[in-house]
Symmetry: C2
Subunit: 336 residues, 2 copies
Amino acid sequence: MTIYDISEKAGVSIATVSRVLNGSSNVSEKTRKKVLEVMEEYDYTPNAFARGLGLNTMNTIGILCADSSDLYLAKAVYLIEQSLRANNYDSLLCCTGYDLENKKKYVELLLSKKVDSIILVGSDFVGEKNGDNEYIRNAASQIPIMLLNGALDSPNVYSIVSDDRRSMYEAASSLILAGVRDILYFYNSDSYSGRHKLAGYRAAMAEAGISPPPSMLQFYGGPHEDIDAMTKTLLNLSKRGIKFNGVIAADDNLAIAAVKYAKKKKLKIPEDFAVIGYNNSILTACCEPELTSIDNKLDTLCRQLITSLMEVLAGNSIPKKALFSGELVKRGTTPF
Amino acid sequence: MTIYDISEKAGVSIATVSRVLNGSSNVSEKTRKKVLEVMEEYDYTPNAFARGLGLNTMNTIGILCADSSDLYLAKAVYLIEQSLRANNYDSLLCCTGYDLENKKKYVELLLSKKVDSIILVGSDFVGEKNGDNEYIRNAASQIPIMLLNGALDSPNVYSIVSDDRRSMYEAASSLILAGVRDILYFYNSDSYSGRHKLAGYRAAMAEAGISPPPSMLQFYGGPHEDIDAMTKTLLNLSKRGIKFNGVIAADDNLAIAAVKYAKKKKLKIPEDFAVIGYNNSILTACCEPELTSIDNKLDTLCRQLITSLMEVLAGNSIPKKALFSGELVKRGTTPF
């Protein structure tokens, strides 16, 4: 018996059940009675630990991220913690790694801690197969689940998403317009966001009548800090005779490797070789010339996520999904 | 009345009091009786919240860091969270910023949450003035305090430190030995670690009979991601006629700025201009040539910190301070 079941049986929204549980005055006496009756009927004890203590809430939010040492995720965790703190919530942080079983385990763990909500940071949590997302749906039957740059259409799940498909489409289109047509797509993740980025690249290429062979879609599966290994991946492609005069990378790390590749091959950037990265991180300032990159507005996303969460916890109804556009930040590695 | 007072009145160590509180079997019946008597006499209720619940421990550790989006601190938080999790502890993360008042506020907050220990991540928490560290001493009278790359000699405070002075001394000495004598020291923090790094640089210079004028010690106080601003700082120095053919930086970000400075001034690296960074971060691989940097063995420090903490929580006695040496990782920006 979950909050979702209660809302169904009582014929009210989850938000209303939540309002009743939190003693909000914003519920009619009739509705409150109905909800409490259903709870009694099904012997439902909400958040046994917290409420057994006579506390309305633990004021603690679980933050799950795959790896908080990743530049992008670290920044997201930081921004989220700051916003939660400003709203008087504690942050319980868990780093799950990229394995599905561990993600499930940590969600269970946070549920057992009776956190008020779980924020899944980064797009690594939503799988392509529906069955891989059952653990998110299950968790959402107990508490609201917030997805940062992931999306899942399910009750009590709220998605704050950057329009990665659109951003990548614009990046590729700009490059094609500038005359770069042999664009290698260099990526390291099949996550929700990863799939949308790839789709954006494909769409731009298709629109220009270019059909990149599979070898132009290069997956890198090594450690996310090993820029040398990434560079070698590109050098090996070149050795195999695969020709490309531009790289669009799904991450700034990969783009830095493309810049290093060009240096090793003595290709002039941006005249002979163009590079676009993703995330607009500090790495963009580290290479020569500086890296053109897509800013997916992480600050805005994180701020909106916490605003939305506070609304949900207050029992208010909010849109299930918010989509924000990114911005191509032009620097020295592109001819435009 | 704190755990520290109890240990004093009972004439036993804090560790023993902790053992009694945690119901460890590793205490003689006589000692246990003595400790419990003192507690009763002074009406001491340990961790009221946790123990009122009949729980021996919250199994939650507070992690404080100034800014978890900083590359180095992000990695530390990640490693610590992973180790704590492996020991079945939760991580309550708070980012304090660099202001003393906020640090105090967050320590108070974590104490009120009845965490089992607080880990202060990074050297920003220990001030030069003794009065600035009173909040750490006070917290340590209630629970063990672990310092990562900070040191404070105080009861119930444990310090895990990298030998930054030695590492910086070796870096500067190597550069002098290679014939680079006009070495600018570029730094951005007066923290515990920052002061030791500077002392190492000074010692090496003094040993070589070089007395750098104050203008060769350059403090940068801007945002830690703004590499352009750092580069401008160096260009302005040069405009003012200050001559230097090497930069030792207290952080890889600053070192990247030095590489960019050399590029703008058309100085050949490492022939005309040498650069050494600190932290051996991902940035070392991003510039051309790659950056020589000091690896201060963060993995080892974090692992040791959690090992020590587990010992302390189990009531065992451990050294108050552990000092680990770093390593100069030589790459293309130095002539050796």
